[in-house]
């Protein structure tokens, strides 16, 4: 049995050629960094698109330099056409949700740290792991390529609702080739993530080190494991949905197009499809997807906070139970995106109820974090600041979710900026803060150098203020009736809101510029940062028991044996420190644990 597992991982020496070391690498650490790099590129592309959108929203006739070169049809003279605004909006969301929020917290950090935190040498199927990255990369390239066809990318939103997304080029620019490329890119992306789950789950279940029982796994491992189980079911539904959408375009089927539909003055030659079918298939994926985006961040934040509080959370098991309930319930709530879609109103009740129930585990998690923080002597580092920021953002975004969960309220605020504010707080900001927290926490381990704490704290505070300035006003805008996905505001009740949009635009540009501090910190520290010790944060999990960065086989030939649970902080260790590493054979001293409370 042991030999089989040994065979499952690589037992030949480290690769020698540049290509095998850095390009087509089967080393999970390199794959994790590649995913991180992909996420970094995608986030700047997505942010750039959002700047253009926000500039247009604030100043509709603004000429944006360079845009006419990128798309002479979409932005003649540098002024966005309404369709081009929708195209940029679609691509902004698609890049962000798929290539940033799924890639960075799950694929990037998960690939790098899951094997190390369970004490394994690598994932069990390194070649499949390599394929998972390159398939995701191909999906990214397909999506980017849609900018460069004459009609531009799809404009139907990242949700690609039928029939707009299914009828083809007659519906508008980008709806022909652009939409097909979008669907193809997403289908390929799904395959890439499924290949990832194929590695994550066996690693967690079968590759754990001796002594590492399930109840000794760090919360990050639990989070990645739960996320990969969710990804398994969610991406497997989106992929056939995208294939059916492509078929509607290319082959002439009518899965999603009803009969007698008139588009741009022409009756469409399709019959009897169901537009609601697309929404059901999409949101069955879509809701678990947003939990796929947030659960790894929850794991990271829990792990980071425990390290810097120097004591465990109030209850490890309840945190896991809450994450599991979130995952389980996420499949039952998807219809809350469809309250006004025309589906049976009784269904709205059926979906609203679990949506309200799902606020319970979310609230439990927040209360555990806050309760654990109470009277702790939290060490303030950039990583812990971003973890605190995550909690703040998650509360803010979550509270607006309570309102959206109820159909009578949702009917009023659906498709307004209220919703945009809600999901930007929980996804765009909270999950991103989780990524930042993980970055500042794990950068020393990944690259062997420390990031600048001074720049990090500056990055945190400016970003924290900036994102509140951008997204808090959105709740007000939504309640005032500001509809989303509009490229300009010409009604008198929305025209009065333009100054708020301009404020949000300025805040967005400012916050975007602040991210350059992070980028500078990242690049500068990578090459010229202070050398990092093995365990700069005095953390207990297995990744800190190896060198920074870890050697090729993670532990230098050693097979770690785990003796403790992952959060032995606030204890009296034999060496005089207040923590005991998971693989330290020393025993815990019970009395000393009282001193921290």
């Amino acid at each position: 049995m042991h030999d089989l597992r040994a065979h499952a991982t690589q037992h030949h020496g480290p690769p020698q050629s540049f290509i095998r070391k850095y390009i087509f690498s089967t080393d999970h650490k390199v794959i994790g960094k590649q995913y991180y790099g992909l996420g970094l590129v995608a986030v700047f592309v997505g942010m750039g698109l959002s700047w253009i959108m926000r500039l247009h929203l604030g100043w509709t006739d603004l000429r944006i330099p360079g845009l006419a070169w990128l798309s002479p049809n979409g932005a003649p003279g540098g002024v966005l056409t309404p369709e081009y605004y929708l195209q940029l909006m679609t691509m902004h969301a698609t890049f962000m949700v798929f290539f940033v929020l799924t890639v960075a917290p799950f694929a990037a950090f998960g690939n790098f740290f899951l094997p190390i935190q369970v004490g394994a040498e690598d994932m069990p199927f390194p070649h499949i792991n390599m394929m998972s990255f390159w398939v995701t990369f191909v999906a990214f390239c397909i999506l980017v390529s849609s900018f460069f066809f004459s009609d531009g990318p799809a404009l139907s939103g990242w949700t690609a609702y039928a029939p707009l997304s299914a009828v083809g080029a007659v519906a508008g620019p980008g709806q022909g080739v652009g939409q097909v490329l979008w669907a193809l890119s997403i289908a390929v992306f799904c395959v890439g993530q499924l290949l990832g789950s194929l590695n994550f789950i066996p690693t967690t279940l079968d590759m754990r080190a001796k002594g590492l029982s399930l109840s000794r796994m760090p919360l990050t491992v639990w989070a990645w494991f739960i996320t990969s189980c969710m990804g398994l079911t969610a991406f497997a539904v989106l992929m056939p949905a995208c294939i059916l959408l492509i078929m509607d375009h290319v082959v002439g089927t009518s899965f999603f197009i009803p009969s007698n539909l008139v588009v741009s003055g022409q009756i469409q030659p399709h019959s009897g499809g169901s537009t609601l079918l697309w929404q059901h298939l999409f949101w069955f994926f879509g809701h678990p997807e947003v939990y796929i985006a947030i659960v790894p961040a929850m794991g990271i934040v829990s792990h980071v906070l425990v390290t810097f509080m120097r004591r465990p959370l109030l209850s490890y098991k309840v945190v896991i139970g809450s994450m599991l309930s979130l995952a389980f319930l996420s499949y039952m709530v998807y219809g809350h995106h469809m309250f006004v879609s025309g589906m049976n109103p009784i269904s709205s009740l059926v979906f609203s109820f679990p949506t309200l129930i799902i606020t319970i585990p979310s609230t439990i998690l927040v209360l555990i974090w806050l309760g654990s923080l109470y009277r702790s002597r939290l060490r303030i580092t950039t990583a812990s600041l971003f973890a605190l920021g995550f909690i703040s953002m998650f509360i803010t975004g979550g509270v607006s979710g309570f309102f959206l969960a109820q159909p009578p309220i949702d009917i009023m605020v659906h498709a307004t900026y209220f919703v945009v504010g809600h999901f930007h707080f929980v996804m765009a900001v909270a999950a991103i803060f989780g990524i930042f927290s993980g970055t500042y926490f794990w950068f020393p381990k990944m690259f062997g150098r420390m990031m600048s704490e001074r720049l990090g704290k500056l990055h945190f505070w400016l970003t924290f203020v900036g994102v509140y300035c951008i997204f808090m006003p959105f709740h007000y805008l939504g309640l005032a009736g500001n509809v989303r996905r509009y490229q300009a505001f010409v009604d008198d009740y929305t025209m009065n809101l333009i100054p708020i949009h301009r404020f949000a635009t300025v805040a967005a540009l400012f916050t975007g510029a602040v991210q350059l501090i992070f980028l500078y910190n990242l690049v500068h520290s990578r090459f010229w940062g202070e050398k990092a010790p093995d365990n700069p944060w005095e953390s207990t999990s297995l990744e800190w028991s190896t060198t920074s960065p870890p050697p090729y086989d993670n532990f230098g030939g050693r097979h770690p044996i785990v003796y403790h649970d992952p959060y032995q902080y606030g204890v009296q260790s034999a060496t005089g420190s207040d923590y005991i590493m998971q693989d330290s054979p020393e025993e815990e001293q019970p009395e000393a644990a009282e001193t921290n409370r």
């Binding site: 049995m1 030999d3 089989l4 597992r5 065979h7 499952a8 199927f125 499924l194 789950s197 194929l198 066996p202 690693t203 279940l205 079968d206 590759m207 754990r208 080190a209 001796k210 002594g211 029982s213 399930l214 000794r216 398994l232 079911t233 991406f235 497997a236 539904v237 992929m239 056939p240 294939i243 059916l244 089927t253 009518s254 899965f255 009803p258 009969s259 019959s271 009897g272 499809g273 169901s274 609601l276 079918l277 059901h280 298939l281 425990v306 004591r311 465990p312 209850s315 490890y316 649970d565 992952p566 032995q568 606030g570 204890v571 054979p585 025993e587 815990e588 019970p590 921290n596 409370r597």
Partner: protein, 223 residues
């Protein structure tokens, strides 16, 4: 404060459980304070991975099934047609290939000459499985051709579309399975086949069988 616990085998572990992160006894055999993990008893990762893969494929066909059910209910243009008879013959071929694969597995277990499970069983049963699998794929193609000649194309009616999509998706997965069988044949010739690898291929192939039986039933009911 509190009880100082000496015996970790019977008391709640760790003694400061309310302060530490949990991780109590897992029901595994303790060895003093060092618990043995699942490590020695864990299945090979291949067998977990194949179930992960099967779960994924099940979800995909579940999505297509629900799409079909919804689409049928969405309008009145559903054209019911008789399934080509060759499909039933293809079903027998596929079931036969599962039987022949199982014959190889038994021969492999009997011929295992080294503890690692490297067998020297002849690959004949594998060749038969491969041939039957290819025959199934050809038979499916014949079924499509037959429907084409009757005027039933991919886009001619939603019921036709689903027939082609479901059977086409299944055939693509079967082709993947055939690739796995070829890989196994290669391993047998080099005498490096492990039981875990064979287990993966076998589970996948039997799953293709079960999936086909499900699809046949679904198509028979709905089309």
């Amino acid at each position: 404060m509190g009880v100082i616990v000496e015996d970790r085998l019977t008391a709640s572990y760790p003694p400061t459980a309310r302060l530490t992160g949990g991780g109590g006894p897992t029901g595994l055999t303790p060895n003093g304070r060092r618990f043995l993990s699942l490590h020695e008893n864990a299945p090979p990762p291949q067998s977990t991975a194949i179930w992960v893969g099967i779960a994924t494929i099940v979800m995909m066909f579940a999505a297509l099934t629900s799409a079909m059910v919804v689409r049928q209910g969405a309008s009145t243009d559903w054209h019911h047609f008789d399934l080509p008879t060759i499909l039933y013959f293809n079903t027998l071929i596929l079931l036969g290939s599962s039987i022949t694969l199982e014959m190889f597995v038994r021969a492999f277990k009997r011929h295992k000459s080294v503890p690692m499970g490297y067998g020297t069983a002849p690959a004949l049963w594998l060749y038969i499985t491969l041939a039957l699998g290819l025959l199934f794929v050809i038979g499916q193609y014949v079924a499509w051709h037959q429907l084409n000649s009757e005027g039933l194309y991919l886009a001619s009616n939603p019921s036709h579309s689903f027939f082609y999509v479901l059977t086409g998706a299944h055939v693509l997965h079967v082709l993947g399975g055939l690739g796995g069988i070829i890989y196994i044949i290669g391993k047998v010739h080099k005498v490096t086949l492990q039981s875990s690898t064979l287990g993966v291929a076998t589970k996948y192939w039997h799953f293709m069988d079960l999936l086909w039986l499900y699809l046949l039933g679904l198509l028979w009911m709905k089309l």
